[in-house]
């Protein structure tokens, strides 16, 4: 019984220690997210858009890749951008990359899940966000 209890404790401590060892990495990512949020404001983001659908979609995808945090913020910023005249292609790419591409989280992802995986996953997410954007807006125009 005691041996069993000891095993449970050992297994728990193993999980605990493995998470604890990643804490410096996670805190660094949190600090980076806060830094990006503070320095890259809505005003800064909206100034990048140029009323060119193709370039704006790319800018939307890039902005979403750099920014991070609660998805709700991406909806609010996306809604504001749309009201400000930015195309739905760009706003969609922005919303999709906000979650699927993690520029700021990449160091943590690479350290835990591998560098090659992280690079390919983020590159593919970036490219596919534009595909999702084009398909969504195109189908929306049909229905």
């Amino acid at each position: 019984m005691n041996i069993k209890k000891k095993n449970h404790l050992e297994l728990f401590l193993k999980s605990f220690k493995s998470m604890l060892s990643l804490l410096p990495l996670m805190i660094s990512v949190i600090l980076l997210i806060a830094l990006v949020k503070e320095f890259i404001t809505f005003k800064v983001i909206s100034s990048f858009f140029q009323n060119n659908i193709m370039i704006d979609t790319l800018i939307g995808a890039l902005s979403g890749s750099i920014l991070a945090g609660n998805s709700l913020n991406s909806y609010v910023i996306g809604g504001e951008l749309l009201t400000g005249g930015v195309s739905l292609f760009a706003v969609t790419a922005f919303i999709v990359t906000w979650v699927t591409v993690g520029f700021v989280q990449a160091p943590a992802e690479a350290a835990i899940l591998g560098t090659k995986f992280t690079i390919w996953r983020n590159v593919l997410s970036f490219v596919l966000s534009m595909l999702v954007s084009v398909l969504t807006v195109f189908v929306l125009g049909l229905v």
Binding site: K14, M19, I30, K116, F117
Partner: protein, 171 residues
């Protein structure tokens, strides 16, 4: 041996050290923004703690489940069922993405494919509790179409990742 430990230690604290230097440099540029960043970081950290505790408990629980059982549902040979489980996991997972990396690594050790990990991460873009907000900002039709395409594209990404990572499974 000592050299290896030093290298590991360097790797572990490379990012925290770089972030600390960045904060220090930017403090001289814009102290107010740095103070705000620190306050915001603290508020995020408080939100992340419960998720970390949940994931530790999940990782602990996972150790009791035999690899065979996990492989049956989410392993490389689990077929469509495995992809759907990965997608559903991504949709219902809560909290910041980086808190989930360690758990995904544990699942990979139990048989989750790299493509399925990518599917999990991609489907985090489909936030079920936030769907009403997405509808509020962009409309019902847009929300349905976007959600369907994100769901479908996640499988395309997963398949591509599986092909690309085939030669480096044991990374």
């Amino acid at each position: 041996m000592k050299q290896k430990t030093n290298k590991n230690l360097f790797n572990k604290f490379k990012l925290p050290a770089a972030v600390a230097v960045l904060y220090l440099v930017l403090y001289f540029v814009s102290p107010d923004k740095i103070i705000n960043s620190l306050k915001y970081s603290y508020s995020i950290f408080k939100q992340v703690v419960p998720v970390i505790i949940f994931i530790i408990l999940f990782m602990w629980g996972l150790k009791y489940i035999p690899n065979k059982a996990v492989k049956k549902y989410i392993g490389r040979n689990s077929g469509l069922k495995g992809w759907l489980f990965a997608a559903l996991g991504g949709m219902i997972s809560h909290g910041p993405i980086y808190a989930w990396y360690p758990l995904l690594k544990e699942f990979e050790a139990k048989g989750l494919s790299r493509g399925q990990t990518a599917v999990f991460l991609y489907n985090r873009a489909i936030k079920l509790p936030l769907i009403p907000m997405l509808i509020h900002y962009f409309g019902l039709k847009y929300t349905i179409i976007l959600t369907i395409f994100m769901f479908l594209v996640s499988f395309l990404q997963g398949s591509l990742i599986d092909i690309i990572m085939k030669d480096s499974e044991a990374e």
